[in-house]
């Protein structure tokens, strides 16, 4: 029996679902190994369950909690995909702004209004997390294969620098930029440094992230503490380690 898979999206840019659709080379082969039971972005006939694996994108607004709980109930394995689902995503930044609802909606009361956004794990048990803004599609496929093999998927426990060093990029820390590679979990093949752009930490903190040492280093390099803190608050400002980062 092929495992039943559901792909769901909540609050976000749909980039992680899109990355799945961007698997052009294998998209049409996927049905030979899984039954895609629910994928509203790509499919019009969808069932609620039962699901062996559900991949859930997006952060959760209060009025979406019920729907999320339903998915949880219907799924054996629930996987948070993308930094929105894992950490609240970029929209978590509204928490650092005064009166965001006033700025955007002029404080109007609205039917679906809910100025509050959280990660999946704030509401339900999450079995695995595939962070990234967006997810790395290769990592997604690796994950899927692991589950299909019955192999416990292993999250990477080393930072971006590992991938970056293997590509022999000129280290951006040396250039005096704030590269969060040393404290960010690997898995994207150091895409940003490969493009000569410092890691923005979109995948969230790595296990044992040594944030205080990096902050110390940045201070030595003359980085303005305000800039450093802002850097920690890009796509995973909901991550505890990044939020607590002090300059």
């Amino acid at each position: 029996m092929k495992p039943g898979v559901g792909i769901f999206g909540f609050t976000g840019c749909a980039g992680c679902q899109l990355e799945i659709l961007n698997l052009e080379d294998i998209l049409l082969d996927l049905p030979s190994v899984v039954d895609i039971i629910n994928f509203r972005m790509a499919k019009s006939e969808n069932l609620d369950g039962p699901l062996d694996i559900s991949f859930v994108e997006g952060s959760i607004m209060k009025y979406q909690v019920g729907e999320l709980k339903k998915i949880r109930k219907n799924s054996k394995i629930l996987v948070a995909i993308g930094s929105c689902a894992c950490y609240g995503g970029v929209q978590y930044l509204q928490n650092f702004i005064e009166k965001p609802w006033k700025i955007v909606y002029n404080d109007k009361k609205m039917k679906y209004a809910s100025p509050d956004t959280k990660s999946l794990s704030s509401y339900v048990k999450v079995d695995y997390s595939l962070p990234g803004c967006p997810i790395d599609k290769e990592e997604f496929v690796d994950f899927l294969k692991s589950v299909l093999l019955g192999r416990k998927p292993k999250m990477k426990s080393y930072p971006i620098c590992v991938e970056c060093k293997l590509r022999e990029n000129d280290c951006l820390l040396e250039k005096g930029t704030i590269c969060l590679g040393p404290v960010t979990v690997a898995g994207c093949n150091s895409k940003c440094p490969n493009n000569n752009y410092a890691c923005e930490g979109c995948r969230g903190p790595v296990e044992e992230a040594n944030i205080s040492s990096q902050a110390e280093l940045m201070k030595e390099k003359g980085i303005d503490p305000v800039d450093l803190i802002r850097r920690f608050r890009m796509f995973t400002s909901g991550a505890k380690e990044f939020q607590e980062a002090k300059a």
Binding site: R40, A42, K43, S44, Y63, M110, Y112, N196, Y197
Partner: protein, 414 residues
């Protein structure tokens, strides 16, 4: 009669189409219940060189357009003139995005309706060649974006005043080769989409798109309307306003109290004479004529745009060589405006930047938000036409109409 299409499928994001028919009076609400993200709030207090990567997260499918409009608006505010090479590369990147997004829409989201399937995957059982064609075109769109800007979804290397990395000659040649190899599939696409059996429905509305004198405007241009006016991007907020409606987390674009249309159909209706020569030849060959007032013909417009994008991209790569350039810039206080044609229509950014380079104000008009009112107006009229059909058929037809707009809901609720 009451129709509540809860969570319309095969569109990006969460929206319910709710229609209430009482005594021949039709009330239409496209309720966008996508979670609110409040970009215009949290982009404030961020530095000019951070906001673009944040802004691109408004939408994955058209992240490239958000990147470009955001950058243009910052550059406009700080008085930066980018190099010609940067313009060319950006244009190329935008072409890639249009190819990707249109292919995604046409083949994955729309075509299954016309072939009677629920998705590209089930469709591929019977129409494998078409499905593969579509995916290969889409893949190439992504390849262009990745080559030029570092990643297909949420670009990396496109920054204020240039790029952090310039694609190598080998990479460019590879893209060029793929464009040429795949062009015949695009011709097939035009043939296919111009021959589909579209619902018979017309409603003339105001069409708005960027316009340029000498070329089919995608990356740049003035804002122009089928009503005849033409304005600098700076003046846009004077022409159109956004309205907050209580049932929808997306605001709606309004002009003079009515909706207007932006997107592929609007562009072709306004600018078809500026399409590339070979594209025009192909249109002639297949007997495709514009303007059209049938929103379902957006699909035909998309297929034509893909061909135009292919030819323009080939032209850019063949006639330019790219080298490393400096992209430093100086912070300046200012108000900046930027717009470009996203796959779904005109995208507009307005930033205010203070003397420390911090953004103090952000206003973003996305194509889908602008189209929402017009979409409701179309649904209203279309429904009158098909009111005698079975409810099931009505629902299916309405969904198809919504899809014809290819709404990008996360864009609309940004």
């Amino acid at each position: 009669m009451n129709i509540d299409i809860h969570h319309v499928t095969r569109v990006e994001g969460h929206g319910n189409l709710v229609v209430d028919v009482k005594n021949k009076k039709i009330k239409v609400e496209f309720q966008i219940n996508e979670g609110t993200r409040l970009f215009e709030a949290f982009l404030r207090n961020r530095r000019y060189d951070e906001v673009t990567h944040l802004a691109s997260r408004i939408c994955a499918i058209c992240s490239m357009s958000h990147t470009m409009s955001s950058l243009k608006s910052i550059e406009n505010a700080m008085g930066i003139m980018v190099s010609e090479q940067t313009e060319k590369l950006r244009e190329l990147a935008i072409l890639g995005e249009h190819i990707q997004s249109h292919a995604l829409h046409m083949y994955c989201l729309s075509l299954p309706d016309y072939f009677g399937f629920d998705s590209i995957i089930s469709m591929s059982n019977k129409y494998l060649d078409e499905a593969k064609n579509g995916l290969m075109i889409k893949k190439l769109g992504n390849e262009i974006a990745e080559t030029v800007a570092g990643r297909a979804v949420h670009q990396i290397s496109a920054v204020v005043n240039g790029f952090t990395k310039i694609p190598s000659k080998e990479q460019m040649n590879k893209v060029l080769r793929h464009l040429k190899e795949l062009r015949p599939s695009v011709l097939k696409t035009v043939e296919l989409f111009s021959s589909l059996d579209y619902p018979d429905f017309e409603r003339k509305t105001e069409y708005i798109a960027l316009k340029k004198d000498d070329e089919y405007a995608l990356y740049d241009g003035n804002i122009a309307s089928s009503d005849g006016w033409n304005a600098d991007v700076r003046e846009w907020e004077g022409y159109a306003t956004e309205q907050i409606v209580e049932y929808s987390n997306a605001k709606q674009g309004i002009r003079n109290g009515h909706g207007y249309m932006t997107g592929p159909l609007a562009r072709i209706n306004l600018n078809f004479d500026r399409l590339s020569g070979s594209t025009k030849d192909t249109m002639k060959e297949y007997g495709i004529r514009f303007p059209s007032y049938n929103p379902f013909h957006s699909n035909v417009a998309r297929s034509i745009e893909v061909l135009h994008c292919f030819d323009t991209a080939i032209n850019i790569i063949e006639n330019n060589s790219f080298k490393k350039e400096k992209n430093e810039c100086r912070i300046k206080v200012g108000d900046g405006y930027g717009a470009n044609e996203a796959p779904r229509g005109t995208l507009y950014y307005h930033y205010k930047i203070d003397r420390k380079g911090i953004v103090t104000y952000a206003n973003i008009l996305t194509p889908t938000a602008q189209n929402l009112r017009n979409l409701e107006e179309d649904v209203n009229l279309f429904l009158k036409k098909i009111l005698d059909s079975s409810k099931e058929k009505i629902i299916h037809n309405l969904e198809m109409l919504v899809r014809a707009y290819d709404p990008c809901i996360s864009c609309s609720v940004h």
